[in-house]
Subunit: 235 residues, 2 copies
DNA sequence: CAGTAAAACGAACGTTCGTGCTATATACAT
DNA sequence: ATGTATATAGCACGAACGTTCGTTTTACTG
């Protein structure tokens, strides 16, 4: 513990003052780590396996982190950056309110289906793995997922303030429901490869949105249905 | 592989013809195994740890199973028996239809909250752990969860056939939504200790049930609200 | 009560785990 | 181009993993 802390501190100082070739390798390591961890879990992410995949020595790789726990935290952090890039950023390109709310959910489901991470939603998997093991890894995962839930909730509130969504509904409740449906779709897809689950989740979310949309908000929802025009044309 | 199979076969034959003291210890082992596995995962369920907990030797314990994988499968099977006892059985004591449907969901949430397993829903945890690792363990988990989803769906159909629930709704869709809300509540409780999630899940489920209930079915729902009368009295 | 089959044990196996040294090679500033 | 800080490699460690073996203790049957 003490040793690891000292080493980490020394490294942090060095990283600020000096240039870095090691910074590049560190990035490369974490990129690979994220994908292994998403498929095999953060504990299944072993240093030997990681070194093998990157054709480098265990010790050489290990020197970039003070401990396995630090590697895990850094991996979680990297996954967060990817998540923000793949989900949050594109959704925030659309105007706030009902439209962005839909985008957040829609893109999230797409991010799972498209296999950004091999094991589906990185954080859903990591949360299930670490929810019983106290420590910094668990704490970071919990924070990040809370961050996501807050984003969802804030967007709901914004839609309400814009008069697009009924003020009566409880934003915490709706965020919980949307998040649950997303977790449910992720579960069905990971365990059964059931792509239909994404449709079910989208249908359920859309149903709630259109139920709670005000007269102002309702027209915004049509833009968010690329598939429903197709469905209407077919039926 | 071959050795383990032979040993297992010999054991199976012996178990049929002979009596068993070993059968009792096997039960005791699995009882403990289930609780360790639910908290630390099926892979974190280590034979040494298990032996220590039961104050017996690794080898003596190991002899009851041909391999670690067999131990894991047996543990999953034990968890299923507990689940049936704790959730399915009590719910099936009430008449089929809307009432039983509510009971299934309500008791399921209670089973997570009351800590029947230390790690929340055993199968939600196991599914997340094994969804990326092919093999008999994963297959069994997937089967059991499908079994649960089918039970949910069948109960919905029965409620429809009894004229208590609108025929227009898709039972697969509704079962998916209920299951998702349950998984969502389990997630929130495991990661944040958030008991409010159970209320949110119950509210969401009740909201759908009363929305889709027919004139015949609606009266049945009042019986299923022990807390809402209390809530009404308080507010 | 004797005999026998089943059950538990103790010790060891070959691996792999995370981690710690020490030495060498690489990249960067002057 | 050279010197120095940094990055990587090599090797070894103690512990824990699943698994096997031969032996000893326990429990049931005749």
């Amino acid at each position: 513990m003490t040793k690891a802390q000292l080493r980490k501190a020394a490294k942090a100082v060095a990283a600020k003052g000096r240039k870095a070739q090691g910074e590049r390798t560190r990035k490369a390591i974490l990129e690979t780590a994220v994908h292994i961890a998403s498929a095999e879990g953060l504990e299944g992410l072993t240093i030997g396996r990681l070194a093998l995949e990157l054709s480098m020595s265990k010790s050489g790789l290990f020197a970039h982190f003070g401990s396995k726990e630090d590697l895990q935290v850094a991996t979680v952090e990297t996954a967060r950056a990817i998540f923000i890039n793949e989900v949050i950023r594109p959704a925030f390109e659309t105007a706030q309110g009902l439209h962005r709310l839909w985008k957040l959910c829609d893109i999230w489901l797409g991010y799972v289906q498209s296999g950004v991470f091999r094991g589906g939603c990185f954080f859903a998997a990591a949360a299930a793995e670490f929810d019983g093991r106290p420590g910094p890894v668990r704490d970071r995962i919990a924070d990040i997922m809370k961050e996501w839930l807050s984003t969802l909730r804030n967007t709901i509130v914004e839609a309400q303030n814009a008069g697009q969504l009924a003020k009566e509904i409880d934003p915490t409740q709706l965020a919980f429901e949307f998040n649950s449906l997303e977790l449910g779709a992720n579960w069905a897809f990971q365990l059964y490869g059931d792509k239909g689950a994404f449709t079910r989740a989208r249908d359920a979310i859309r149903e709630r949105l259109s139920r709670y949309a005000t007269a102002t908000g309702a027209p915004l929802l049509n833009l968010a249905r690329p598939k429903s025009t197709q469905a209407r044309a077919q039926s």
